[in-house]
Subunit: 299 residues, 2 copies
């Protein structure tokens, strides 16, 4: 089965103390779509301007990503610019130019409306809700978010949470949403807001799933060097959804392994700027790291 992915499609200029990488392909939907493409067919919905490089259209196509739902409008593509400190832990935004993204309204082509697996990657929750309004009965809906929406669009987000099967957020966002320092206490509170599955991402410390079968402690793949963590969270949830869309059996049976695939795909994302490393790997490299991770956690 295919995965429908809606989110931002952007150009990211990423600066570190040793390198500048201007106008890389970025955005939550781009990272999630490329990650999902290793596992299942992907339909991407987003918006770009008329400055969007043809090589990035070619990149989507090389990954077999259906871009019928990618709107191309006159104007500039969403451009984000950020700078990392040497330790890669602290990032600051230098510039955000919304461009055509400012008035983006995701409109689903007819063939997209019955997609069984839906990933609402990080965009405004009002737009995530708008996408669901156009859908028939998806089998499994997951949404991601960011701190910005907790600050400025909480009512929309709370409305969205009631419509999801799974909600993915990072530990600081979970704290912001629930005021709980303890991740397990936060998970409990987030379930009360709607979702059956809640996943809290903890970066290099892995992630935690809470669902009908209890908790799952998902490890991160050991990386000796992180070049650029931008998009790793999107790659995680994208690969997870791609895996779920093609795995035999129920979501409940498969979600743990799907998270491990997400974790490993995110590890490749961190090893290069933007999507540069992820687009160079093959499925076999992902399978290999999943096997390694299995060995690294057995006792």
């Amino acid at each position: 089965m295919s995965v429908l992915i809606v989110g931002s499609t952007a150009l990211d200029s990423i600066k570190t103390p040793i390198a500048e990488n201007p106008r890389l392909l970025g955005g939550s939907a781009s990272h999630a779509a490329v990650a999902a493409s290793f596992f299942s067919p992907v339909k991407l919905v987003g918006v770009v301007g008329d400055d969007f490089p043809k090589r990035y259209v070619a990149l989507y196509k090389r990954h077999g990503i259906d871009i019928e739902g990618l709107q191309m409008l006159p104007g500039k593509t969403f451009h984000w610019s950020g700078e990392y400190e040497l330790n890669m832990n602290n990032r600051r935004t230098l510039l955000t130019e919304l461009g055509v993204f400012e008035t983006f309204t995701p409109t689903l082509p007819k063939g997209h409306q019955n997609s069984p697996f839906v990933l609402l990657a990080n965009i405004a929750p009002s737009l995530q809700n708008h996408v669901l309004n156009q859908m028939q009965r998806p089998k499994f809906i997951v949404a991601d978010t960011m701190d910005l929406w907790l600050n400025i669009a909480l009512p929309d987000l709370l409305k969205l949470l009631k419509r999801l099967d799974a909600f993915v957020l990072n530990d600081s966002e979970a704290h912001q949403l629930t005021k709980e320092d303890n991740v397990f206490a936060a998970l409990k509170k987030i379930h009360q807001l709607g979702p059956k599955y809640v996943i809290i991402k903890k970066g290099s410390h892995g992630s935690i799933l809470s669902g009908p079968r209890g908790f799952f402690i998902c490890p991160a793949y050991p990386l000796h060097k992180v070049l650029d963590p931008t998009g790793a969270g999107d790659a995680f949830v994208g690969a997870m959804m791609g895996y779920l869309a093609t795995a035999k059996g129920s979501v409940e049976d498969n979600i743990r392994r799907a998270m491990v695939y997400g974790s490993v795909t995110a590890s490749f994302c961190c090893e290069g700027f933007g999507l540069t490393r992820t687009t160079r790997i093959k499925r076999a490299a992902i399978d290999q790291r999943v096997k390694e991770l299995e060995k690294l956690t057995r006792f």
Copy 2:
């Protein structure tokens, strides 16, 4: 086989926004010894003053801990007082009275000198070295440390590292020692200082082993509420050594499972002030959580 544990034996006064707990049994050796006692015979080496409550001597004995090496000197027992913030993440020291600990020199009774498993719990590295000078050929030597010794006794610590089989420290200490933010890069540098096994503790994020068979990612047991994390790191390494001392087969075969037992025993420690929760559990409760943790990590 038995475990020899040398470290601090103290009275801890622990204050939180909702409770005050004066003069609890504490110290690195106390926490480690009680944790180890669930698995193997323990010989404790430390020092207390003539104010040391008889009920704590009884507590050691109830856990079958051999206190022949516990010196009782005229003067006051080492007293530490600290205050936690509501979120339990931030602790500040209110008071440190060294008492008889100030001039402590650990002297091993003759029967202790051929102990096969040696845990040098957190005390000054010069004293840890002094203990090893009195030993015959131990089978497995582990040491723990703290930030203070990295600041004021680094040469002694570096000398100690060359004599260890395993070194246990937390993530911020690993960063302090190696200047590496990345935990896997830090592990590599610490091996170069001597130890064959290096374990980095990451609190609620679990711990990482690096050894001859590569990495092991050890999970933390999920706790919804942490009452008092004081001594959890000591309980972790104490239980690990207790498990190793009685498990059949080589250290290499058993160390992963030993760490999981350490992780679970530390989880009980966090659920009560001082040793209050740990002293009330039975081995079966530990086994039960290890089984749960196995289920929480399988995929």
